[in-house]
Symmetry: C2
Subunit: 105 residues, 2 copies
């Protein structure tokens, strides 16, 4: 997937850049699998399945979400952030810092 | 929601007990909201939205899953486990221990 970004620097210069995420398809597949997993866990709860089993499945979903976040973050580092540094796009770097604060709080 | 359980002790005695989860409806509502949230995040990725925003939303989903796990665990402690201790149902206690190992690994 290719993104087109336009950034306006403090001095008014407009910088356009585009970058490609190589992992988007893999990330979307992982997201679909996680959603399917969550729907299955919801059904387990409806069916009155043992709480211990439900908790184990939820911890697997949790691990899968952290794993897909890692893939997105690495893809972002390899593409967007490398571009952002080259083009002096400080907004992207600040946004990533905010996201990292949120993730590891 | 009421569960009927049958446990066979080592000496062959059959113990039947039932217990009620008071939080099942709330848990199912939370599960539906988390699934909806995940579908929205998947759409954000499809739309090529900023990775930082996607990561922040995934960390919110992650927090919501840990939160619903906590509700399930507390409900389980208050109902199933109290019953399990009263009826000497060691299998339930062992299963919960396994689940806790999995969750906090």
């Amino acid at each position: 997937m290719t993104h087109e970004h336009e950034h306006i620097l403090a001095d008014g210069t407009v910088i356009k850049h585009s970058h490609t995420h190589t992992q988007t398809k893999a990330v979307l597949n992982r997201m679909s699998r996680i959603i399917g997993h969550m729907q299955a866990v919801k059904q387990m709860i409806k069916d009155g399945r043992d709480c211990s089993e439900v908790l184990i499945q939820l911890s697997a979903v949790d691990a899968a979400i952290r794993s897909v976040s890692r893939v997105i973050l690495k893809d972002h580092m390899e593409h967007c952030i490398v571009d952002a540094i080259k083009t002096g796009d400080e907004e992207s770097l600040e946004n990533l810092n905010k996201a990292i604060d949120q993730i590891f709080k």
